[in-house]
């Protein structure tokens, strides 16, 4: 996703001189195309995420569209108050580009796992929160949003594989149905959608037809699409590489409650921060019950 993001940003920057790329000294083998094509509009601020957001605020007030790049947890949690009092309070078009949502930086350990970013970013009024499912949808989202007036948080996967049925499509406040089914509703976001689709395939082999709904735009939330899907659902399972509190599952619970929809419901999510033992992203997903097999099993339990 990150390479598609930079490639698309390079294309947009050719015709819009307001676009700038700031990095807090991360993005080796990713940000170079932009840095080479637009050296005047590329700034490595050093390992200083708070200053990156403050500088972006000053740039945006003067009319620039600054994109602030770092690993997702560093891009959101370290400068969180700067984001709140800077671009959010001033309603300025600063873009925060967080790479490695969830467990993508597997062996990097818990400091590098971004598991609270959706919760804190969607708490900010006016902040758009976008988690594309793959590279093509990342490009589509950026092409849709690059000049939007609001601040935006892009939660990107690191090297997430292409999801064949993504449709390369993105719309603000819309969810996408990627698979039809009436027995259960599986709702996921970002790179976890691929695993969720595999879970639906496992369920189908066992005779259970699950609908898969992707939520690439978490804020503003796709309330109408969620309500419609939830109203028709027999059981609802949310799947996310994020802590349980405040993420996609919380969003769906809010919609269920406000719409007075009583459904069997479970939120699959990360359950802790670090296990004392580390491993690859795949191993960490397994430990947190976020593999296709575990998702399918949880859906079966919910239906039984």
């Amino acid at each position: 996703m990150r390479r598609e993001f930079i490639a698309t940003l390079c294309e947009l920057a050719a015709s819009d001189r307001r676009i700038m790329l700031l990095t807090a000294d991360l993005g080796f083998s990713v940000v170079e195309p932009f840095a080479q094509a637009y050296p005047d509009r590329f700034v490595n601020v050093g390992v200083a995420e708070q200053n990156m957001i403050g500088v972006a605020t000053g740039l945006a007030e003067a009319g620039f569209l600054p994109f602030c790049y770092s690993i997702a947890t560093f891009a959101t949690l370290r400068p969180y108050e700067f984001i709140r009092n800077g671009p959010v309070a001033h309603e300025l078009p600063v873009r925060i580009v967080g790479v490695g949502g969830g467990f993508d930086y597997g062996t990097g350990g818990p400091t590098h796992h971004s598991l609270e970013d959706i919760a804190v970013m969607r708490a900010l009024p006016g902040m758009m929160v976008v988690a594309p499912i793959d590279g093509p949808q990342t490009a589509a989202a950026l092409e849709c949003l690059w000049s939007a007036p609001s601040p935006i948080y892009f939660r990107l996967g690191k090297d997430s594989p292409r999801v064949a049925i993504s449709g390369d499509h993105f719309e603000v406040a819309r969810a996408q149905t990627l698979r039809q089914g009436t027995d259960a509703l599986l709702i996921s976001t970002g790179a976890m959608v691929a695993e969720t689709i595999r879970a639906a395939e496992i369920l189908a082999d066992a005779g259970t037809q699950a609908m898969v709904l992707s939520v690439p735009c978490l804020a503003p939330a796709p309330l109408a699409d969620l309500r419609a899907a939830l109203a028709d659902a027999r059981a609802v399972l949310t799947v996310e590489a994020h802590q349980q509190a405040g993420g996609l599952g919380s969003l769906v619970a809010e919609v269920l409650a406000e719409a007075r929809l009583a459904r069997p419901f479970r939120r699959l999510a990360a359950s802790q921060l670090g296990l004392g033992r580390g491993g690859s992203a795949a191993w960490l997903l397994e430990q947190n019950g976020l593999t296709a097999d575990a998702i399918a099993a949880a859906a079966q339990t919910l239906l039984s």
């Binding site: 509009r41 200083a48 708070q50 200053n51 605020t57 000053g58 007030e61 620039f64 800077g86 001033h90």
Partner: protein, 266 residues
């Protein structure tokens, strides 16, 4: 713009600060009085601005947002705010809170949380350079604000990028919320610290507006830090260097004394 305004002088600023903080019965008086002469220099000519919405105006970041009343008073004397609006200070449904909001004409950036202002100022200065504008960005910091790590992130950034259109004024009054800076987190060798980040440093008596004004002349090739030695509560004997006047509102009797003392000062 507003017929009831007076010439912009330190005395006029102090009078408005005392009047409004007394009327509203709020504190932060010591901090506001500390920066009066700095604002007199800034708004008495250093800041070049035809109107609050001129895109090419010099920008000002009141990074020590808790002295906002002094800034409101300057905006009134500058002609960008009515006396009636100034009199809403700290009232319900007012845009004039203890800390400033950019929704108010003349306030370029909202502040209040220490440590944010210099990085915004650095971005503003970088933007001006990229756009080929000769506007400058002034940032007023407190010395306690130099406790904040983010202030030094921004200082290093501005020095590295040689943002000569960025001017920081540090209100070195030696006081912070719970006592003297020397006892809480020593701010010694302040000049060396800014200089080591690539700044031109000038130290000045922060209560001589003409001297401050002269010190604010930008450096040619580097960002400029003006370290202004000031006294918190300046002009009111019982407030000077007293940490409690970071918080306390005035009684009627204190107000009368404060006003008389302030008027006697230049």
């Amino acid at each position: 713009m507003f017929a009831d305004r007076q010439p912009l002088s330190s005395r006029a600023l102090r009078r408005l600060i005392l009047e409004e903080s007394h009327r509203a019965h709020v504190g932060h008086i010591g901090s506001a009085l500390s920066v009066v002469d700095l604002l007199a220099a800034l708004y008495g000519g250093a800041i070049r601005s035809k109107s609050p919405d001129d895109p090419d105006r010099d920008r000002f970041v009141m990074s020590k947002g808790h002295a906002a009343l002094a800034l409101y008073a300057a905006l009134f004397l500058r002609g960008w705010m009515s006396r009636g609006e100034l009199a809403t200070y700290c009232g319900d449904d007012s845009s004039l809170g203890v800390h400033p909001t950019h929704h108010l004409p003349g306030i370029d950036f909202s502040t209040g949380s220490l440590g944010l202002g210099l990085s915004i100022g650095a971005g503003s200065a970088l933007a001006a350079r990229l756009l080929g504008k000769d506007r400058r960005t002034y940032v007023l910091l407190s010395d306690a604000e130099c406790n904040e790590g983010a202030t030094w992130e921004a200082a290093m950034f501005a020095g590295h990028h040689r943002l000569a259109n960025l001017i920081a004024i540090v209100d070195v009054n030696g006081q912070q919320a719970l006592g003297p800076t020397a006892e809480i987190l020593n701010q010694g060798r302040m000049a060396e610290r800014w200089a080591s980040c690539g700044w031109t440093v000038r130290e000045v008596d922060g209560h001589v507006p003409t001297a401050v004004r002269e010190a604010l002349t930008p450096s040619l090739h580097e960002p400029l830090a003006v370290l202004a030695r000031t006294v918190s509560g300046r002009g009111v004997s019982f407030m000077e260097r007293q940490v409690n006047w970071h918080y306390l509102p005035m009684s009627d009797e204190q107000y009368a004394i404060a006003l008389a003392e302030s008027e006697a000062l230049a």
